[in-house]
Symmetry: C2
Subunit: 256 residues, 2 copies
């Protein structure tokens, strides 16, 4: 077991920034539970860093083990209270195979900005059995440490792809034959809309909703109707709340 | 117009702590939009503090206006980028009238801890026309500045009450005659449950769910079923995501 070097400390702490994650093709996950899941998932771990002052159940696998102390852990951790173990993991290459999206429900986000929202949406996909999440290229990065920790392991069970939606959506429709839905503030009441089992639905940006360029490729605009009696209600639902209601509506109609 | 004194600076900045909010019976809201809504709502504003270095549309009403500079604003603000105006508002006295809950859908939270979740849940109530939210006494405080800002004004349209649920629930059932529902990880599939238009439903604590003492007063346990095919999915849904799905299920069955 080697001691964590200065060079590796800088490398690992740089991975909180997207530019460096992309340059090194690496990201960070922290804590025993999530790292055990990473090992089981078959993702490739490059370094495992332990805090030698603290005891934890050992983790085994094909990776380089490094040790450091409490202060060293603080330098590389993204959390207020660093857990005793941190993993540096290789970013897997991911390209969606259109044909694998056939016969499935797929979620798509158009420039989703907030890492916390992305984390919550990945957990929602996981719960509702949505295997694939397509993000526009400008959306928050799934390998942002805030997203990784917020998903509580769900990022291992949901494939997250980054695509140019204006190119992706027409090809998706051609190959799968499925319809594309999007949520809008004016649209058809979702409770009265026919929702097929296999389809794609798009959620928009937190402030601006779905962009006009993306809206062009949608077959239906749907709305989660407000029920406030006075018509005097919140201007919009939080995007992850909208995602949950849409998933629930698609899923409850399919075979349980 | 008076300049913000040292004494009032300490008073206002102390209001980020629950103990001092209760002692002074005051809370803080920041930003022009939310404060205009507070003025329209009829809540009583005690002080309005302007940043004299910045221009904003004026707000009028029956309150003491104080001015300060950028540095003074930073001392009293709870936000990273303090907006040019901050209001100190009297906490209204609130006690639920059981009879006013009759014929309505009411939400209840059992020791909800996270202020962000409480803010999101208040926005969900607002969207779905749920006028009353009953919180157990140990739940996060609606007057926490994080909650106030996160609700984006929805706290003005949703009545939030703090009660001892073990006393509240039996009295609620007796007076209204409505059933009480709760979300559990083992329960009846919500999509196959008869949900009445008027009822109360309880959401639990983020880590521990609904406490056994509260569960005793519930008529039905309901579950949002996971749809992951492998049975290998997230252990739970985020509490505000669960709140959204439950609201959606109650509301879609009622008259639109």
């Amino acid at each position: 077991m080697q001691t964590l070097s200065k060079a590796k400390t800088s490398l690992i702490s740089s991975l909180s920034v997207k530019k460096y994650r992309q340059e090194h093709n690496l990201f960070v996950a922290e804590g025993h539970k999530i790292i055990s899941e990473v090992i089981n998932s078959g993702l490739c771990i490059k370094y495992l860093v332990y805090n030698e002052d603290r005891e934890i159940p050992s983790l085994s696998g094909d990776f380089e083990v490094l040790v450091t102390d409490e202060a060293g852990m603080k330098k590389i951790s993204n959390l207020k209270n660093p857990p005793p173990v941190l993993a540096v993991i290789e970013i897997p290459e991911r390209k969606p195979e259109y044909i694998n999206l056939k016969g499935k429900l797929t979620m798509c986000v158009d420039d989703l900005q907030d890492p916390g929202n992305l984390g919550t949406i990945i957990r929602i996909c996981d719960w509702f059995g949505i295997e694939n999440l397509i993000c526009s290229n400008k959306s928050a990065d799934v390998y942002n440490p805030k997203v990784i920790q917020a998903t509580m392991g769900a990022f291992l069970r949901v494939n997250v792809f980054y695509e140019n939606l204006v190119e992706f959506l027409p090809e998706y429709r051609k190959v799968t034959g499925h319809n594309c839905f999007g949520t809008f503030l004016e649209g058809e009441n979702i409770y009265q809309t026919d929702l097929p089992e296999s389809a794609l639905f798009v959620l928009g940006n937190e402030g601006n909703g779905i962009s006009p360029e993306v809206a062009e490729f949608l077959d239906s605009k749907i709305l989660i109707p407000p029920y406030s009696q006075a018509g005097n209600h919140a201007e919009s639902l939080n995007i992850s709340v909208a995602a949950a209601v849409v998933c629930s509506e698609f899923r409850r109609r399919g075979p349980a």
